[in-house]
């Protein structure tokens, strides 16, 4: 610790006296946590605006059949959860300095994200064919299209960015450009993307399952 002569006497041992890290984490990780809080509020605002419209309109469209929509979105949920598990194992491998295994787990995580996006896009194209767009639905409830494609689209953007982030991280970490702390920070982002889907899936898909069969 650098010795400093100051006019004011400050208890150097306190974590709040500056120059140290009161949260005992590096600044990149702290920055990612702050980003996650702000992104949480973004998604909260969108999901709450959606929830308001959903409750206020009892004639909300319920287009999601067990097959393909619910079967597909449930598998997507499990795939995303599994990719969080591989991410955790990747971070653990990175902290053990096991580079080869870390790269493998990171690429597997990215593959999970890619599978999620591809499945989600096929789901989107199904809905397009059935006449659902971001500005109209066959039932004449544009709010459904706007909220569905808006929220799932923003989430899908996060997944896509995450896949790119993870691929860059695995290449860079494999070459020794990044440290295990950097891998952990990318893990925080990835788990957050998973966490958001844990709200999007029940609130958007499960609130609109087709009950007529």
């Amino acid at each position: 610790m650098a010795e400093m002569k100051t006019a004011v006497s400050v208890p150097v041992s306190s974590p709040w006296s500056g120059g140290g890290s009161p949260f005992a984490i590096n600044s990149k990780k702290f920055g990612m946590w702050l980003f996650i809080v702000s992104d949480t509020l973004t998604f909260s605002a969108l999901l709450l605006a959606y929830s308001y419209s959903r409750l206020a309109n009892p004639n909300w469209p319920r287009p999601f059949e067990i097959y393909p929509a619910i079967a597909k979105s449930t598998s997507m949920t499990l795939i995303l959860l599994a990719s969080s598990l591989t991410m955790v194992l990747g971070v653990a491998a990175a902290h053990r300095n096991d580079r080869a295994k870390t790269v493998r787990w990171l690429l597997l995580t990215a593959l999970g994200g890619l599978a999620f996006t591809v499945l989600h896009l096929t789901e989107w194209f199904n809905l397009f064919r059935e006449g659902y767009t971001p500005w109209s639905t066959p039932q004449g409830v544009p709010l459904f299209g706007a909220t569905f494609f808006g929220i799932t689209g923003l989430h899908m953007t996060h997944v896509t960015i995450g896949v790119i982030y993870l691929v860059i991280m695995s290449i860079g970490y494999g070459k020794g450009k990044f440290t295990s702390d950097d891998v952990e920070v990318s893990g925080l982002y990835w788990h957050f993307v998973d966490l958001v889907w844990m709200f999007v899936f029940p609130m958007i898909y499960l609130m609109s399952v087709s009950l007529t069969g």
Binding site: F23, S53, L81, L89, P202, M203
Partner: protein, 108 residues
């Protein structure tokens, strides 16, 4: 974990077994939610139940996968209460009115 790997951040990290257990719980809650979706409940009750289950899942992800349980408590205190407070404020503003419109249009 190798003992000589000191350095950046050495703290308790969950085992693979623990992470798999958390994953199984997350999957189980997901299936409970899917099952629940086919019960014919009032939309406000359904939405509340689903969100409560999702909050449980989010807590599991944040605590174990995002490692917050093992960080210093000051980090969790900085991040979590303020976020929950903001979200509760929006809920208090809008959700009672959403439920009122629902009751009105359902004709109760």
């Amino acid at each position: 974990m190798s003992a000589h790997e000191s350095g950046s951040e050495v703290h308790a990290v969950g085992s693979t077994r623990l992470f798999v257990m958390v994953w199984i719980w997350l999957a189980v809650i997901t299936f409970i939610e899917v099952f629940l979706a086919y019960e014919r409940l009032r939309p406000d009750l359904m939405l509340t139940l689903l969100v409560v289950l999702s909050v449980v899942k989010a807590a599991l992800i944040v605590s174990y996968f995002m490692h917050l349980k093992y960080e210093k408590i000051s980090l969790a205190l900085l991040l979590i209460p303020a976020t929950i407070f903001c979200i509760c404020m929006i809920i208090i503003f809008f959700m009672p009115d959403g439920a009122r419109l629902m009751q009105m249009r359902l004709g109760h």
